[in-house]
């Protein structure tokens, strides 16, 4: 188990990158402490799998270093890094039994058979596969196959980090939840560093203590699920996390305050930065339907269980609000107010307000 440091990492798939657009990863610096549960979250093509493959050693970065416990492993092949990786589709050795599959990484490293036996039994029990050990792996269901892929990573006790590359893609929704909680449980039991790559916010937020959100090869925010939700550092994070995502409203900044539709909007603090574009970010949870404030027209209301999402238009911009009360009819004119401590200004996408201390 190890602390993982990513130092000034850049990667390009083209041999002679010319501009920043040629880079799949643009200057990444990260520190992952030992034993944590991390998630790499971002849309398809944001570079998260590239980063994962660089950590596992399947790819060598164009620039920068990868350190395990301060030791440079940038040029080490995957088998010498003591890592484990679970892929999108279950990778199992079809012709072997479940037992042989689990024992495979240990046998390749010349571990003695008594030790192999003990470890395989231990991991199989954890994964609830102990009564399937003699079955041929090809006869298992996809979720059990995926468990074997995990098991092959966990069976080694010298493993530095276990990485998951969207491991639940091919699993049925009902089993997804089960496998995810199994993973969480495993993490608590063996406390090995785990990195979980996904584009699904639910998976990331339920699994990880710390979530790294990526977009276009850049890390936009690192934080706990609560931090990501409560105070997004970037409009992308606000929009990507949450359902529906954060409302983003173009605004004007005057004297450290913001105006939207000609009305001054109370913010969490002073605006300290300005840029090409300035926008107000407010989550639907903190938009209130009230008697005074910004005028809006209701377009429709969608019941999402315990709450109702009200979709509205205000001055040509769409805005959502979440309410517990009975929703207004479509076409109704309403007025909106924003909770000031959850209202922020973003300039060029990045947060621009500061909370006064």
């Amino acid at each position: 188990m190890a602390k993982i440091t990513i130092d000034k990492l850049r990667h390009s798939y083209s041999p002679n990158p010319t501009g920043p657009d040629d880079y799949a990863l643009k200057e990444i610096d990260l520190d992952w402490t030992d034993g944590g549960a991390y998630a790499l979250l971002g849309p398809s093509g944001c570079g998260k799998s590239t980063l994962l493959n660089i950590i596992s050693g399947l790819l060598t970065p164009s620039e920068g270093r990868v350190l395990f416990d301060g030791k440079d492993v940038t040029n080490l092949p995957p088998d010498q890094r003591n890592i484990a990786q679970v892929f999108q589709f279950p990778v199992i050795y079809d012709t072997m039994t479940v037992y042989d599959n689990l024992a495979f990484p240990l046998r390749n490293r010349g571990v003695d058979s008594a030790r192999i036996d003990a470890r395989v039994m231990e991991i199989a029990t954890m994964l609830e596969l102990e009564d399937r050990l003699a079955t041929r792996a090809s006869n298992l269901t996809p979720d059990n196959k995926q468990k074997i892929s995990m098991g092959r990573g966990l069976v080694r006790d010298d493993v530095n980090v276990v990485m998951f590359d969207e491991p639940l893609t091919v699993i049925d929704p009902a089993l997804k939840w089960k496998l995810r909680s199994k993973l969480k449980e495993l993490h608590q039991k063996i406390a090995v560093t785990m990195i979980y790559v996904t584009h699904d916010q639910t998976e990331a937020l339920t699994f990880a203590d710390q979530v790294v959100v990526m977009q276009d090869g850049v890390i936009v925010q690192i934080g706990s699920p609560v931090e990501l939700f409560e105070r997004p550092q970037h409009t992308f994070v606000g929009h990507f996390i949450g359902s529906p995502g954060m409302n983003i409203l173009p605004c004007e900044v005057v004297d450290g305050g913001a105006t939207f539709q000609g009305q001054k909007i109370a913010l969490e603090g002073k605006v300290v930065k300005t840029g090409q574009t300035t926008e107000i970010g407010i989550r639907p949870e903190y938009v209130r339907l009230s008697d005074s404030g910004i005028p809006a027209t209701v377009r429709k209301a969608a019941d999402i269980g315990r709450h109702t999402v009200v979709e509205m238009m205000t001055g040509g911009v769409a805005i959502n609000a979440i309410t517990d009360a009975a929703p207004p009819e479509p076409g109704t004119e309403v007025r909106l107010s924003f909770d000031p401590d959850q209202t922020r200004v973003y300039s060029d996408g990045w947060i621009a307000t500061e909370v006064a201390k």
């Binding site: 596992s56 995957p78 890592i83 892929f87 990778v91 012709t95 092959r152």
Partner: protein, 286 residues
């Protein structure tokens, strides 16, 4: 999932009609010959199973069958591992793959008698490239028309030349269908090259290799044109494989009944071996 639909037979009907027309009618004719004796002039006499009894007891049949089994065994033992080895050494993608495949497929596209003629020209003792090289550069006495060993080596090398590419193409097709994560997982698991071959590549190639072995078995068991053009079955009878022997019996001696019975025996033999092999290889599927 596929739906149950007996009307699908209508779609298969043209295929069945064409194949049955070509397969069943000639087969019945052969069966008909095999139980009769003819002295020409379309006079046939009922002969019963005598031909079959004769064949199964004849030394000539045993000798031809022995040569045939040896030939097929040797070319399978060379072509299958060699084909797999070449396929493994090919890059998985890149500009050279197409070029390699085109060049490798070339021998498959040459008419079989041209293959025989080409190897004949190639191996002529004094004016053929190989013949000249063996005799005048290496100093090995090499003459197909005199030495059975030379003839055997030549027909085997010719068959390897002609057909290994088929195995390469099939094995390569199996290999490129393996998703990259399998190799990555194996790397992470610390698997050796041998383990990667044994536990990933070989299982994934099983289907295509089954086809390759079946095709090569069946085609080599019926090989005629190339060998006939190259050696004519000689020197002596040393390269008289089954089909060549059959033609000698059927056309050389006009012994149709005997030849028909022989061919049915071979057919049954090929069918049995192929079926056994197919069943064993496919047992684990599904």
């Amino acid at each position: 999932m596929k739906t149950e639909n007996q009307k699908a037979w209508l779609f298969v009907l043209p295929v069945l009609a064409l194949v049955a027309f070509n397969a069943l009618i000639p087969l019945m004719t052969v069966v008909n010959y095999s139980v009769q004796e003819t002295f020409g002039n379309n006079l046939f006499f009922w002969q019963g199973l005598d031909w079959f009894e004769n064949i199964l007891r004849s030394d000539r049949f045993h000798a031809a069958l022995g040569r045939q089994v040896m030939f097929t065994a040797i070319i399978l033992a060379i072509e299958i591992p060699l084909g797999v080895m070449i396929a493994l050494a090919m890059p998985r993608s890149g500009p050279w793959v197409s070029v390699c495949l085109v060049l490798m497929a070339l021998p498959l596209l040459i008419p079989w008698n041209v293959v025989g003629a080409m190897w004949n020209i190639f191996t002529l003792p004094d004016i053929g490239l190989l013949g000249y090289f063996m005799n005048n550069v290496l100093g090995v006495d090499y003459n197909m028309t005199q030495s059975p060993t030379a003839a055997w080596v030549t027909i085997i090398v010719m068959d390897v030349w002609h057909w290994t590419s088929l195995v390469v193409l099939l094995a390569y097709a199996g290999l490129i269908s393996i998703p990259e994560p399998y190799y990555q997982a194996a790397k992470i698991d610390g698997a050796s090259n041998w383990s990667v071959f044994r536990y990933i590549q070989l299982p994934k190639m099983k289907r295509v290799l089954t086809i390759a072995i079946l095709l090569r078995f069946m085609d080599s068991f019926n090989i005629y044109t190339e060998v006939f053009v190259l050696t004519g079955g000689g020197p002596g009878n040393s390269t008289t494989l089954l089909s060549i022997d059959l033609v000698k019996v059927a056309l050389g001696q006009f012994d149709l009944g005997n030849a028909a019975a022989m061919s049915l025996v071979y057919f049954a033999f090929t069918l049995l071996v192929s079926w056994l092999f197919y069943t064993i290889m496919m047992r684990d599927e599904e």
